[in-house]
């Protein structure tokens, strides 16, 4: 899915701790299924201690809320892909590891850096996210948090649906310049 302008996401939260690495998000043994999103979704977050079978409990639209350095470790782009395939509509974290952050932006998957939400949200809270404004409403606790703003270029990428459409456009521009 891509984040169209004005989109509001709503779902229940799944809480995770600090430093959840990509080997826990989608273990390397499933990397050979990298072209099969369904398999990836089924095994998402499987190696987080005592979390086997998690993806079966996720309802489409649910929101993952994690601590600091979410997605550290490998460069595997299947980490955000697996979480998305499991049905998670957005990830909120205190902070993201660099490659996970890039990968999510590049595939147009909404992620929000919001230490306040990472701290306050409890497991199962109902959340509503206004992506355009970067506002996270906690309907269960009656609270509201503001996510850190992205630089303009990244917001643009998310709106375009990721890096691929941007490259397509740039290739076309280069092609046009060449034939001129």
């Amino acid at each position: 899915m891509t984040a169209e302008r004005g989109l509001v996401l709503r779902g229940n939260s799944w809480k995770f701790g600090d430093n959840v690495d990509t080997d826990q998000i989608i273990p390397a043994r499933y990397a050979i299924y990298s072209m099969d999103e369904k398999v990836l979704g089924e095994h998402a977050m499987e190696d987080v201690p005592d979390n086997a079978g998690w993806s079966k409990k996720v309802l489409a639209g649910d929101i993952l809320v994690a601590g600091s350095n979410f997605g550290c470790g490998s460069s595997r782009e299947i980490a955000p892909v697996a979480i998305r395939a499991a049905g998670i509509s957005a990830v909120i974290a205190d902070s993201f590891a660099r490659i996970f952050f890039r990968n999510a932006i590049n595939i147009g998957y909404p992620i929000l850096q919001c230490p306040q939400a990472a701290e306050a949200v409890r497991q199962g809270d109902q959340l509503e996210i206004d992506l355009e404004e970067g506002i996270i409403k906690n309907l269960t606790q009656g609270d509201e948090y503001r996510a850190d703003a992205f630089p303009e270029f990244m917001t643009e990428l998310i709106h375009m649906g990721g890096l691929a459409p941007w490259v397509r456009k740039r290739l076309a521009e280069k092609e046009a310049a060449r034939s001129r």
Binding site: D23, C72, E77, R98, I99, I107, V167
Partner: protein, 428 residues
């Protein structure tokens, strides 16, 4: 205000006079790398989503069959085949087949493909390894790689830089691996998140290129974007006769800015381990002595180059691996394996009862050839020991240097290598 090495390379790539931390840039990439896990998705994204039909420059990309190759099952065979077919179709110059290359992060430096002053990306998190050769190198995902394959450029955020100064020199037995484990233990796995790690100081003068590569390899374990070192005689000597392109080294200006400077006395660094289950779970070796081991793994892009194997062989020569322990040795590249063969190291390993494998990532990522079972304990020379990394999430993994690993395989438990060297060799 001057610039440091990372900033200079990014500025050069973006065609700008100067840059500062936080700037977003579109920069030209000098060299890129993908492997059997990342080329299949990247080539698909490139073709289907970006509409690109050819690679921006087939001479500036390396494709390495290493992660699940030789194929361990039909799914990995399919990935290997997709990678192979695509590399052929695109006319990729630096394609490394199974048995010809080895592990990507060892192959690229040893073939002189990643050079000083260059801007390099690899679709693998440990691409930061190349920075020991005075370049900016960072790991990216498949969509990023597809962007580079299509355009030869990519967006970057200029990182803040942390500077590390290592005074004096490492003491006996202590290696570059111990030093970087100590640094990561100090920083934590989040401590350099998205930042550059610039390593400098007297101690580095006495650390060879292999040891330097071990250090930059683990930059990502502190969350860093890249690790980088100055160009010196060691770099120059390493690249002599192998560099595939002319290059221009960079150095940091005396008035370059750093977010923070860390000073370490290398002489005070002890033999070190990372305890289960995180690379920042630092402990001095003395704290974990006696830990029983089911498996010892000497392998990976971190610590299985020829020097690592020579030092391990010196410990294993005439000794036997403990009957309750298994020792797996996976050379870092085919070139490494060839040297080991010439020098008689493989014979020493066999005589010790170790198993010697083809060069591949294999056990490092719990892929194949040495996956750990539930409740097993392993001492590994790799870079990362998060839960499930080397197999079952309830397997316990310690990280160490290769000499400690070899000695501990003989003892069947974690031990100081000096203890083993004191014992007379049993077998001849």
């Amino acid at each position: 205000m001057g610039m440091n090495m990372t900033e200079k390379i990014l500025a050069r790539g973006a065609g700008r006079e100067s840059v500062k931390p936080g700037d977003l840039l579109l920069a030209k990439v000098d060299f890129a790398m993908g492997h059997d896990l990342t080329i299949p998705p990247a080539s698909k994204i490139m073709r289907e989503q970006m509409g690109a039909t050819r690679v921006w420059d087939p001479e500036r990309l390396a494709v390495v069959q290493d992660h699940f190759q030789p194929a361990k099952d039909t799914a990995s065979a399919a990935l290997g085949k997709t990678t192979r077919d695509w590399a052929r179709a695109m006319g990729i110059k630096w394609y490394f087949e199974v048995g010809d290359g080895g592990i990507c992060h060892t192959v690229l430096p040893e073939r002189g493909l990643v050079l000083p002053g260059e801007l390099i990306v690899g679709a693998d998190s440990h691409s930061c390894t190349y920075g020991a050769l005075n370049n900016f190198a960072t790991g990216v995902g498949s969509t990023d790689l597809a962007c580079v394959l299509s355009l030869g450029e990519l967006w970057f955020r200029v990182p803040e830089t942390l500077k590390f100064v290592y005074h004096n020199r490492l003491s006996e037995w202590v290696e570059a691996k111990d030093l970087i484990l100590a640094v990561i233990g100090h920083l934590t796995v989040d401590g350099a998140r998205s930042k550059a790690m610039e390593h400098t100081g007297e101690a580095l003068k006495h650390i060879d290129m292999e040891g330097r590569l071990t250090m930059t390899n683990m930059a990502i374990e502190a969350g860093a974007k890249n690790g980088i070192m100055e160009y010196d005689e060691v770099t120059e000597a390493f690249l002599k006769g192998i560099a595939k392109r002319p290059y221009t080294p960079v150095s940091s200006d005396p008035d370059a800015a750093y977010e923070k400077v860390f000073e370490f006395d290398a002489e005070k660094v002890e033999l070190s381990v990372a305890k289960p289950m995180s690379p920042d779970a630092y402990a001095p070796l003395s704290e974990v002595i006696g830990t029983k081991l089911d498996q010892v793994f000497i392998g990976s892009c971190t610590n299985s180059r020829i020097g690592d194997l020579r030092r391990a062989a010196a410990v294993l020569k005439g000794r036997r691996v403990h009957p309750h322990t298994r020792l797996l040795i996976t050379p870092s590249s085919t070139e490494t394996a060839r040297m080991a063969e010439r020098e008689g190291l493989i014979r020493i390993f066999y005589d010790a009862g170790a198993s010697w494998t083809v060069s591949t990532c294999g056990a490092c990522l719990g892929g194949h050839m040495g996956v750990l079972g539930e409740g097993e304990t392993c001492l590994s020379t790799t870079n990362r020991n998060f839960p499930g990394r080397m197999g079952h999430p309830k397997a316990l993994v310690y990280l160490s240097n290769p000499v400690v690993a070899a000695a501990s395989a003989v003892a069947g438990e974690i031990i100081h290598p000096a203890e083993i060297m004191k014992r007379a060799p049993v077998a001849v």
